[in-house]
């Protein structure tokens, strides 16, 4: 009898342990919950207003990172546009104080991964391929869990003479 109870307890304990471990490991890379940003910024509104991704994230074509627009760039439009909105007022305050805005990263990569936007856009990928249709979102979220399997999945589908290079660890890990 006692044996059975202890067995059950042990079972539950292990289950909990495994569960937490799994959650810990996958929480980082899973499609993440939206992180709260210093300013309630909506991609949807801007997309509907016809702003292209590359207008704000302008360095994606030429650099590793897509780039977060400078306060100056934001103010470039918001001097006049929607200047009375609450969220824009917050922005204006930052500009007043000449203080950088600490945006929360949405798409994170472990820092032993060296990803560069430029070659991917060069290869003809579109932003949506990896980031999903951010234009439909009020709050941007990570759409795909960007783990190594996900990268390889695409790299190995490339023309056969390229795969040797595209599957080399040193391509992304340095």
């Amino acid at each position: 009898m006692t044996g059975r109870r202890s067995f059950v307890i042990a079972l539950v304990a292990t289950a909990l342990l495994v569960g937490t471990a799994y959650w810990r490991i996958h929480r980082a890379s899973e499609v993440s919950a939206a992180s709260d940003q210093p300013i309630p910024f909506s991609h949807r509104i801007h997309a509907q207003a016809g702003v292209q991704c590359l207008f704000c994230h302008s360095s994606a074509l030429r650099s590793d990172v897509a780039g977060i627009p400078s306060v100056q760039k934001c103010m470039g439009c918001h001097q006049t546009i929607a200047a009375d909105r609450e969220s824009v007022k917050i922005l204006a305050d930052y500009w007043q104080r000449q203080e950088p805005i600490h945006w929360q990263p949405v798409n994170t990569m472990p820092d032993f991964v060296f990803f560069s936007h430029q070659p991917h856009l060069g290869a003809g990928l579109s932003c949506e391929t990896c980031h999903g249709n951010v234009g439909q979102m009020d709050v941007a979220r990570q759409q795909t869990n960007m783990d190594m399997g996900w990268c390889l999945d695409c790299h190995l589908k490339q023309p056969q003479e390229k795969t040797a290079r595209l599957a080399d660890c040193l391509l992304c890990h340095k």
Partner: protein, 730 residues
């Protein structure tokens, strides 16, 4: 895993994601891509051109500027470590006052306005302008010009310049020598001579550590490479004359372990042989025969311990080569008979007609603009001792100290500490708390050279006139302020002719105006129509230099009419009591100790001993055996004027009658990486003898004795002692 990872360090890497966009980005900035800014290295006086890799507003790497005529894209270890000057964890973050009084080490932050108020009021309430003193060290030329102008207008004596690095490379003495030989009648600043190592077939270096810290090591290192493998004429030859086998001697083909103080005699001996046997293809030597009239080769051999055969062999080699040069190095300047020795060495070039010849001796061409003319920015050691006397006599009320750390860099006998204590108001511009700052009332930290403006006239080393421009590559990390701006602000406050003498709103205006002086110089690599245009090009290129090589041919108008004299060197301490010659030498990593707060340089292995992080005492194996000490045994080194303790390094490349100790460690303050580590051999130095006439710091003219302590201390070495320096077991 990331979350847990950061906590426990179990993630493979430390996560550093900062999403901090600019408020208003610099127009050249592209997020995620490096921007390279051209500037000037200030780790030593040479003034190499650098490019700094800046990403998202942070400097990440320093590299040589390939376009720069001095270093051609190359850089030395200390130059590479410049980042840690900028990001040093022990930097002062704002102006501070010592609240607990001087020496209390209690520093209280103060506002800059407050600080300048105090300064100006002090200047206003100054009795006589002569009661101000400015002690400058490794300061860039623009600041020197500003400060000189300031003091001149004030009617105060000009700034006194001293830093141990330039003292050890013997800049002042080299300048004197150049003035004696090449200076015209109205002896104004004659630049340092320039030795064309790259194209020489034979280089005789007398105690010049060309490849370590002397003058312009990067340029000389580059030339050395060319001299070895870059010449059509075949592999060049380097012979090194010095009592200790330095890293330069290690690269040399032959090392002549000279008895300290007899380098000059050897030079005379060589000259004598050349004259006697009429060696070389330069025709008759009769013109210079008188220089060597009363030299006896055998006496030279006896005195120096170098055999007559060797002397003849070397004389032949030197004379036979079409391109050969003899270089009087910094070590000579530390000897009692320094000036005579240097003359004797330089005379070899004159004798062999090497002045202005390929692979010979040149003088750098002046930069064709007034502000950049004064290049030889050194004071004689006499001026330093005079200043100290004035301080002791209480004739100074305000002492400003920039770019040097006299408490560390001057030997005790100068009594610098007491002297400074005498001064009512002491201002230090040091960017971190060093030994001197501890004795200051106010510390007004200057920008580090990666945050500040300036320029440096390149001398010597470049094959053409060049000015290295210095510009900020990052926004200042802390609330520091450029000393130039402080002086200007002060001048404005004082008003009167001082304010008129320094009319500029800030440093940059001053620099822009000065740079514009070169506007319309046809020989430059660039030119512009407007000062503004010129200024932007200046910053782009990191300075200004001429398109083509341009050097002057020196005329030996000052050649002595009588025979050359080299009197025997006098050493402090008698040979019985103190049997060993002390050879303190600048550490390749820490130079004169200003590198001691940079972890990269602390851990950098010394090329010869592969040791790091500490001070050591180099002994010849025979000497060590006779003293019954071995590696890592701590010995006490005692001179008539002081003593220190350090572990032994048994060093095959040093004379048995000499002891070598690297300079650079032994800081009492100066940050976590420097303080309380090793000891400072300057403590052993003796004051100048009669012979030295107090004209310079005789750092090579002291005798010491060695005492065993019985203690052991494991020195951090890369080399394994078991391996005993062998390459292979075969």
């Amino acid at each position: 895993m990331t979350g847990a990872g950061v906590l426990t360090g179990m993630s493979p890497t430390v996560r550093r994601v900062a999403l901090e966009p600019f408020v208003r980005p610099p127009e050249e900035e592209l997020p995620g891509r490096a921007t390279w800014y051209a500037s000037t290295c200030r780790q030593c006086p040479a003034g190499c051109g650098i490019l700094v890799r800046v990403i998202n507003g942070r400097a990440r790497k320093i590299e040589g500027n390939p376009a720069h005529p001095l270093n051609r894209g190359k850089l030395c270890a200390r130059g590479q470590a410049g980042l840690q000057v900028l990001y040093n964890p022990d930097r002062l973050q704002n102006a501070v006052r010592q609240s607990g009084g001087r020496g209390s080490r209690q520093f209280k932050p103060i506002q800059w306005t407050e600080a300048i108020d105090q300064l100006s009021s002090a200047f206003k309430s100054l009795g006589a302008p002569s009661r101000v003193a400015f002690l400058g060290g490794l300061m860039s030329d623009h600041l020197l010009t500003l400060v000189s102008g300031f003091l001149k207008a004030l009617g105060a004596p000009p700034p006194v310049l001293f830093d141990l690095h330039t003292a050890l490379e013997g800049r002042a003495e080299a300048t004197d020598m150049a003035r004696r030989w090449f200076g015209d009648s109205q002896a104004q600043g004659v630049p340092l001579p320039l030795y064309d190592i790259a194209r020489a077939q034979v280089v005789f270096s007398f105690g010049a550590n060309l490849l370590e810290t002397w003058m312009s090591p990067v340029a000389q290192g580059r030339d050395y490479g060319l001299m070895r493998q870059g010449q059509a004429g075949g592999r060049g030859l380097l012979v090194q004359f010095e009592p200790r086998l330095s890293a330069t001697a290690a690269s040399a083909d032959e090392w002549i372990p000279v008895k300290p103080g007899t380098e000059g005699l050897i030079a005379l001996g060589l000259g004598r042989i050349i004259v006697e046997d009429n060696l070389g293809q330069v025709g008759s030597h009769s013109e210079h025969a008188h220089l060597y009239r009363n030299v006896s080769v055998t006496d030279v051999a006896d005195a120096s311990g170098v055999s007559v055969e060797t002397l003849r062999r070397l004389a032949n080699a030197f004379a036979a080569a079409d391109h050969s040069v003899a270089i009087p190095g910094g070590y000579l300047a530390g000897l009692g008979n320094g000036s005579q020795t240097m003359d004797a060495v330089l005379a070899l070039n004159v004798l062999m007609r090497r002045l202005g010849r390929e692979g010979g001796v040149f003088l750098p061409h002046q930069v064709p603009a007034e502000p950049f003319a004064s290049s030889a920015s050194v004071s004689s050691f006499a001026q330093v001792t005079d200043l100290i006397e004035r301080l002791k006599a209480g004739q100074v009320d305000i002492l400003l100290i920039h770019g040097c750390n006299p408490l560390y860099e001057l030997p005790q006998w100068t009594g610098i500490a007491e002297a400074i204590r005498r001064v009512p108001l002491v201002i230090s511009f040091s960017s971190c708390v060093d030994e001197t700052a501890v004795l200051a009332d106010l510390v007004l930290p200057d920008h580090t050279y990666l945050e500040g403006w300036g320029y440096q006239v390149v001398s010597p080393g470049a094959d053409r006139p060049a000015v290295s421009g210095q510009q900020p590559v990052v926004r200042p990390l802390y609330d520091t302020r450029a000393t130039g701006d402080v002086m200007l602000a002060l001048a404005a406050r004082i008003g009167g002719q001082v304010a008129q003498a320094l009319p500029w709103s800030d440093e940059v205006a001053f620099l822009e105006q000065n740079s514009a002086q070169l506007l319309g110089t046809s020989s430059g690599i660039y030119d512009a129509h407007t000062p503004a245009g010129f200024w932007s090009l200046w910053r782009q290129h990191g300075g200004w230099w001429t398109e083509k090589p341009l050097r002057d041919e020196p005329e030996a108008i000052g050649t002595p009419t009588g025979p050359l004299q080299v009197s025997p060197a006098v050493f402090a301490g008698d040979a019985q009591q103190h049997p060993f010659h002390l050879i303190p030498y600048p550490s390749l990593a820490l130079s004169d100790g200003r590198g001691a707060n940079l972890p990269w340089l602390q851990e950098m292995p010394d090329p010869m001993t592969t040791a790091s992080w500490n001070t050591w005492v180099e002994l010849n194996p025979a000497t060590a055996r006779s003293l019954q000490v071995d590696n890592n045994d701590v010995v006490k080194v005692v001179s008539p004027y002081g003593e220190l303790q350090a572990p032994v390094v048994v060093y095959p490349g040093i004379r048995p009658d000499a002891v070598a100790i690297p300079i650079g460690q032994g800081h009492r303050d100066y940050g976590r990486f420097a303080q309380g580590r090793g000891s400072n051999p300057l403590a052993l130095l003796a004051p100048p003898s009669e012979q030295a006439r107090g004209s310079w710091l005789p750092w090579g003219a002291t005798r010491v004795r060695i005492e065993r302590t019985g203690r052991k201390q494991e020195l951090a070495r890369v080399e394994s002692l078991d391996g005993a320096g062998r390459e292979k077991l075969r």
